[in-house]
Chain length 339, copies 2
């Protein structure tokens, strides 16, 4: 298998990307193609121990930045690492594409260059949501679609279920719909209609899930629109950061300050790691014709390595063709609604 | 001033309600009227030290429960403590009404019995959002209106600003709109239109606020629809709970377990208190013709006492008439949009 890696995307590119690729090259039996400024990448590569038989380079003279307007960037920066990488994926020169770059551009590029699975209205980003000490849930949509129709939420639920089962190996994953109450009939018009669609589906739908239950691991697949998904992910990040800051302040003050400092030294790092979703191996974009993974922009080398490892089953397990096959079921539910 | 208190609303009613009222009676120079089952309330009252000159009772034979369907409950349980209390407020037998009961019923009762301020389309619940170690922000809407139009968000911002300034004594409070990015032009159609309306208003609008920044105290008034507001409050509650659980597990394990247990003993209680928004004195319902406060259903006596203390300036500062006066400005902005 060939993994195409955007060497220039993300806050720590190309350094962390190349280092992560070097780490991964010693763990996997697949080829990793790093796309980007060949000279810089070669330079970085020379700093790390890698299995050089498994790493190759593809030159791209430009890079899309986080400030670029997504659609314009994809249209105009034809020789950017992101566009070159997506073209390679489309042309069969690799099996999966990973980028830590501009999320909007990656979505736009995915839609323009690869296209969506026929019958899927809205591809979505599926992000890992860390359930502290107990693995992860999968949050779909994590921010690609701020505005959603009920059928989009059914698509997210179906695609998330497939990914969870095939890649994360959870049998018959439970699916919950984020809502403001557990009872049926709660929420907006869109959410109520989505609840009805999900109830008719073959997925393991457990009903509405209140936000309070999400961090406790309420379900395997958390379904919501991209606005709410974005709020959930970012609030979790900000709140965890704030609580840790508060703990540090409280425990290193007063009579027990010394004791506190000793304890915190070891434990805080562990704690931080448990809520850091960038550690969990990137977020697949589901609903495109080929597997694309959005890596967290601030990923370090370890995050890059984890993303590469997780991208392999995403491609190997034929998630895309399984999503393709699920479209018939989705369409049958939608049609039965109109009868 | 007379404070009307629903003696039968909430998980710990009437015990915690009566105890909280007893505590408050020794701190304030106002009359507290407890509405509910007179016999039971008198019984509870006898258990606590109170200033009996400041407490009076009003009998109501029924109670609305959290399971009751809101509109039906308000229509049919005419002699419930909530309906009786709201009628007393309407008839000038008191200046503010506090209830820890069924939120939907309190909203419905407020609308039917008191009515909305003329020109306010949607009354909203304004909840305290604890910024750990630094006081609170005010979150509007905290869950009353799952679906909102742009003008509703303008109303929430205006009413929240007034409450923050008059009751919480924050001069020219900053107002942020919850969005999925800080740049203008982000978000849903409704959010984009709301951004434009808020920009034209006289309030101190600082623009979009990402969920990540909310726990850090991004702004004084956090504006969002009730769906997102509910997600923010409940996720905060659930996540804080989960992190505390994790801390306890980590710090009381292994070689440093004893040290950890000693440290946690004192600090955890403080930590919990800082994120417990029920401690912060209830959530005013803004946009009704008279002041109504929704108390957290699980409030203990201390929460009840705090809610009573905070309800006093809500009534005394004439927040309702200030909201009434702001309607002209809101309408001018809306009309200028249509020209």
């Amino acid at each position: 298998m060939k993994i195409i890696l955007d060497g220039m995307g993300g806050d720590n590119a190309p350094e962390a990307i190349v280092e992560g690729a070097a780490m991964a090259s010693r763990l996997v039996n697949h080829e990793i193609i790093i796309v980007g400024d060949e000279k810089r990448i070669r330079e970085e590569l020379s700093k790390h121990k890698s299995d050089h038989r498994k790493i190759s380079l593809a030159h791209a003279s430009e890079a899309i930045t986080s400030e670029d307007a997504p659609v314009r960037a994809v249209r105009s920066k034809k020789d950017s690492s992101m566009v070159v990488g997506l073209n390679m994926l489309r042309d069969g020169k690799g099996d999966v594409f990973i980028s830590g770059g501009n999320t909007g551009a990656l979505m736009a590029g995915g839609l323009f260059i690869l296209g969506r699975v026929q019958g899927i209205d809205r591809p979505a980003i599926a992000s890992a949501y860390p359930i502290m000490g107990q693995g992860i849930s999968l949050l779909v949509d994590a921010g690609a679609n701020a505005e959603c129709k009920p059928n989009n939420l059914l698509e997210f639920a179906t695609m998330g279920s497939i990914y969870m089962e095939k890649v994360l190996k959870v049998k018959s994953p439970t699916v919950g719909l984020v809502n403001i109450g557990t009872e049926e009939g709660k929420g907006t018009t869109v959410i109520k209609a989505a609840h009805e669609l999900l109830s008719k589906s073959d997925i393991n739908f457990i009903g509405n899930v209140e936000a309070r239950e999400i961090p406790k691991g309420a379900c395997d697949v958390i379904v919501c629109d991209g606005f709410v998904g974005n709020v959930i992910l970012k609030l979790t990040e900000g709140l965890a950061w704030n609580i840790f800051k508060l703990i540090r302040a409280k425990f290193t003050k007063g009579a027990t300050a010394k004791m506190g400092a000793v304890l915190l030294g070891g434990k805080m790092k562990e704690l931080r790691k448990e809520v850091d979703y960038s550690e969990y191996g990137g977020a697949p974009i589901l609903g495109l014709k080929k597997p694309v993974v959005k890596m967290h922009g601030s990923s370090g080398a370890n995050g890059v390595k984890n993303t590469i490892l997780k991208a392999i089953p995403f491609a190997e397990e034929n998630v895309v063709s399984k999503i393709q096959n699920s479209v018939v079921e989705i369409e049958e539910i939608l049609i039965s609604e109109q009868l």
